[in-house]
Symmetry: C2
Subunit: 344 residues, 2 copies
DNA sequence: CTGAAAGCGCTTACAG
DNA sequence: CTGAAAGCGCTTACAG
């Protein structure tokens, strides 16, 4: 391991000042084409790579983005969203010389601390905000900290194109949930339950709103709603509670696949026939969905594309100061054999 | 947002040189107690936090660790290991002012590129090596790059306490697989198959060795072994292949839970009764394991503890230059209802 | 025990 | 079009 070449080595070898080397490398005007070529050649020959920490100190830029996830590790492990989302983010950052700094915290208490530390240390140039909540404390916090951010979905109250809002990268999940509900209605179901994620999360209530509207448009009540923390455990107990009802549902729509798969487990344990006695749908269309029995009808989003779009948007925001909202392909239902006609 | 206080502000306010401030803050000898107290008080009053990039430039330290995962996002999403492992890592890094830089790459080709970039940019002070492979190219690569590392498990050929080896943080999985196999043997199974992960991965062959030894010790052949890429898809097709055999197994041991759950799906699809017609075991004991039907017998490891131990070891290695190997509680089998006596 | 200074490796006005 | 210099905010020998 020989010493890494510095800008000084390049400058000396090229017979110019280091300022000029910096200009040439950063594609700034004011360098004659011949000089620029010579500098770039020398830099390549010396295998020169600018020091990140030196650049960071000069430019007050870390060349990294942050993702803070406030979820219990148990839930995180069951949820295929984040790995795919992160893979999408990486796919664009890798080529941009940016790194992803990841923080997993158990609760929303520690979350704020982490954001403050990331800011104080200038560890990242911007952050991704996932799992938007009602009255989300992260929005004012990050604004106060002056930390650029991109939200997954649009926060409450924000209008498309709000001047002072963080850019939003949106993947509308309501068409998926509407399609799932309508699919069940079309199959003749009249009592359809909804097992949702935590109500403090925006998408839980938004999806439930879409669900309820679809049922009501068909003249059906949307009164069977159970809130969970997204764990398979609570998916199972919600299913137990629903099936114990005097007038149990003939179909259950779940907020994620692990809960739906747990629901299948509970139904089988009770000797129910699927989808004959009970239809079940999931959400996220994880790989496992098509391999359980019966194969799970689920709502497909595209976390990888979401990650890519979010990364590109944050990159634009942090480099140019502005970035437009992005709308991705909405979610859609994937029909499999866990849903079927209601029994006569 | 007022300007952040710098070491100069503290020095001026305390009436000392900035060198002394640095000494006081870093707990170095040569500062009188009174002066140190005064400096620390002033620093607190000014809400002073040393600039990370300035420190990094001076000390050639990034105060961050790297984790490069070479897996298809699809597989990653189904596998609960990494989220828990990462949560464990975070739990110790958070209090040590270190950050985790995460890279997800699709294949082992890009892996080397990422390690080179992380090193060239001095983006991290050390890395975690997970999913050890046979003849693992990362070991010589990182040694060549001079990048400190900690391995999860001991690499091939390395002896406990090798002077020049990277510290290994080990969680022995063979007791778990041995117990699973023995459990099936005790239940009277004579034809037991093993659906393993990629053979290039150390743990796949190591576990299969333990599996085979257990069967052979009981006078049983261990000839039914199918290699997969760890996806539920290949777990399902391996199950199909096994059940299509003229003399199919009465029990199948899977290398992870998603494959085992897919196996349950295939068995149910064929109208088999579990565990009457077929016993099934998984690996990792994911949350879902206990909520599928029948509840899945699985092998439990502790990824969270693994993450914590790995982080502490890497921290010690990068700060002191040496770190001992660590042995964690070995894996053990958790018996549930997907395994039962072989049918008469 | 304390201070003044050099150095880490960049970027960026400022002169010429 | 090019050079010399200051500055980013720390750490660390070196003197005293």
């Amino acid at each position: 391991m020989k010493r890494k070449a510095t800008i000084n080595d390049v400058a000396k070898a090229a017979g110019v000042s280091k300022g000029l080397v910096s200009f040439a490398l950063n594609d700034r005007p004011g360098v004659s084409p011949e000089t620029r070529d010579r500098i770039l050649t020398v830099a390549r020959d010396l295998d020169y790579r600018p020091s990140l920490s030196a650049r960071s100190l000069s430019t007050r830029t870390s060349y990294a983005f942050g993702l803070v996830i406030a979820r219990d590790p148990e839930i995180l492990g069951a949820d295929p969203f984040f790995p795919s989302f992160i893979a999408g983010v990486e796919r664009v950052l890798l080529h941009e010389g940016r790194a992803l700094v990841l923080s997993v915290v158990a609760d929303e208490q520690h979350e704020a601390t982490v954001y403050r530390t990331l800011t104080a240390d200038a560890r990242v140039d911007g952050v991704f905000i996932t799992d938007l909540r009602h009255d989300d404390s992260r929005i004012p916090l990050l604004r106060e900290l002056g930390m650029p951010a991109v939200t997954l979905g649009r926060p409450e109250g924000a209008q498309h194109g709000d001047a002072d809002a963080f850019p939003a990268v949106c993947l509308d999940d309501t068409p998926g949930i509407v399609a799932a509900a309508q699919h069940l209605i079309d199959l003749g179901h009249r009592r359809i339950a909804h097992v949702i994620g935590p109500r403090r999360m925006l998408h839980a209530t938004r999806r439930n709103g879409a669900f309820a509207a679809t049922l009501e448009a068909a003249g059906l009540p949307a009164d069977l709603v159970i809130e969970t923390d997204f764990t398979a455990a609570q998916g199972a107990s919600a299913t137990e509670a629903l099936l114990d009802l005097a007038d149990p549902p003939t179909a259950i729509v779940y907020g994620n696949d692990p809960m739906a798969i747990a629901g299948i487990g509970v139904a089988h344990e009770r000797g129910l026939n699927l989808p004959g006695d009970l239809s079940i749908t999931g959400f996220d269309d994880s790989e496992l969905a098509r391999y359980v029995y019966p194969a799970l009808t689920s709502v497909r989003t595209d976390p990888l594309a979401w990650g890519e779009a979010a990364a590109r948007t944050l990159l634009r925001l942090t480099t140019t100061g502005v970035a437009d909202d992005v709308d991705l392909e909405p979610a859609r239902v994937i029909t499999r054999s866990s849903t079927g006609p209601v029994r006569a």
